[in-house]
């Protein structure tokens, strides 16, 4: 029984990470209507930036904050320079752009920092924490707490602040938003910035778990997409819940199903994706909406 609790809790902890990246995907999808395949690589880039800052002598937490700010700016710039020009065009254009960003950023990271993994010291120490009879490393707990705080801040931004409302409006119905004087382009840029900032937290958290290398986020992105689809297109809460479920499912699957090891563990996220899309495309929380306006 303790093994089960253990796996569920640690699954929830990693699930928070997938859920956060999934949230970033939703924030971007809301405005631009497309899945940003490069969200993972942007997160990895943030991890490298934070590593670089620490390497140059900055303290971990200061680097953490600075990286978030830099990532936000990067997100805004990417939206303005790369995404805005193709926003009104056929969907395939943005898909291609995000795919190009994915492989381009990945290659750049390899070029600049090489392919040998880098590690960052854990700011949470190496102790163990016992919750409900299960043992979790202080690192797991620390990361989960960080991610949770980030999620709460983003949630509060969207629900409680006026500008959050404006960004939501711009994402949900850009036409009407313009008629109310909202500069939709600028708001979408802010959306991308927020997504990139959330991604930065995810990247730095993942870096703690897997070390930093150019391919670190591939698997995480996959699981985040699964969580995003499961949660339902366009639902922020859904993304987080979906991520948590995927985290737990993956952990349990790998633990209890023998042949689900190695390469085949991708079956869990993909299985979920295919199942959801075929059976209930709008996921758990999504709305069965007509074409967006």
């Amino acid at each position: 029984m303790t093994l089960l609790t253990q796996q569920v809790l640690s699954g929830l902890a990693t699930g928070l990470i997938y859920g956060s990246l999934a949230l970033a995907l939703v924030v971007v999808f809301d405005g631009t209507g497309v899945l940003n395949f490069a969200q993972g690589e942007m997160a990895a880039l943030s991890a490298y930036v934070s590593w670089q800052l620490v390497d140059k002598g900055m303290s971990y937490w200061l680097a953490f904050v600075v990286t978030i700010v830099i990532s936000f700016v990067l997100g805004v710039i990417i939206e303005r320079v790369l995404i805005r020009p193709v926003e009104g065009r056929a969907e395939i254009n943005i898909v291609i752009v995000t795919l190009a960003l994915l492989i381009g950023i990945n290659a750049l990271m390899g070029l600049i920092w090489g392919f040998i993994g880098k590690s960052v010291e854990s700011p949470f120490g190496t102790g163990l924490v016992t919750i409900v009879g299960a043992n979790l490393t202080s690192q797991q707990v620390g990361l989960a707490a960080c991610t949770l705080v980030a999620l709460l801040i983003v949630g509060a931004f969207f629900r409680l602040t006026p500008i959050g409302l404006i960004v939501r409006a711009a994402s949900v119905n850009p036409g009407s938003a313009r008629h109310l004087g909202i500069n939709v382009g600028r708001m979408l840029g802010i959306g991308w910035g927020i997504a990139a900032a959330v991604g930065a937290v995810v990247g730095m958290a993942t870096a703690q778990i897997t070390g930093i290398n150019p391919d670190m986020m591939g698997g995480v992105l996959l699981l985040a997409i699964a969580g995003y689809i499961l949660g339902g297109e366009g639902s922020r809460i859904g993304a987080v819940v979906g991520g948590l479920i995927i985290g737990v499912l993956t952990n349990l699957g790998v633990t209890y199903i023998d042949w689900l090891g190695g390469d085949l563990q991708n079956l869990v996220p993909f299985g979920v994706i295919i199942l959801v899309l075929l059976v209930r495309p709008q996921g758990i929380f999504g709305r069965v909406s007509a074409a967006r306006p």
């Binding site: 404006i166 409006a169 036409g175 938003a177 313009r178 109310l180 004087g181 909202i182 306006p293």
Partner: protein, 252 residues
Amino acid sequence: MSERLLSVEDLSAFYGRVQVLRGVSLHVAPRECVAVLGPNGAGKTSLLRAITGAIKIEGEVVFEGRSISHAPTHRIARLGIGHVPEGRGTFVDLTVEENLRLGLMGRTRAKEATDEDLEWVYATFPILKRFRTRPGGALSGGQQQILALMRALLARPTLLLIDEPSLGLAPLVTAELFDLFASVRETWDLAVLLAEQNVRRAFGVADRAYVLSSGSVASEGTVDELTSGSDLLAAYLGDTETLTSTHPGDET
């Protein structure tokens, strides 16, 4: 010639290669209510969209002396032109109150009256108050129409463009709405440009009207001028006796 709030000169617009507006000229004076009439496809919606910058145009659109022919939509909105498009444009995932607040946020004048105006809207349409924390999408079509109109109104525009407001609304409600516009016209300094298919309803509230046909202005004038005009025009406009009646009757 009274001062002009909005002046449209020789406006032409294209969707790709199809020309939807041909050399349209019109004007709206402050606090005036002007109707744009015409059957489906005549270009009424295109005209409104052209004014608020949603499509590319040739010609000139001047508002309060400033040219807005090539300005982006949100900038035009900030200058004081509101637009309630066909299809309502409700923010379906946002609550009713959030919808209305977005309207308030778009204000460029009378900012001190925001709370007061919101309460006034709730008092006038209790249904909105009852649904204030529910998502906009939970309202019926007609209720969303009212929501959209109130939202636009709450931005206190100087000129409000409305596209087919009576669509989807019961005649009584439409009349109520139009009475509302009439009542705030002076106090809120509001001019209205109204695109309508239903001639009688439009005549009930408008001072002047333009009749569009295939993208150009076929006729224009005050309500009296139009209804006592040529037989052909009167035939198009329908039975002139019931036209000038302000009591909502049965649907034609």
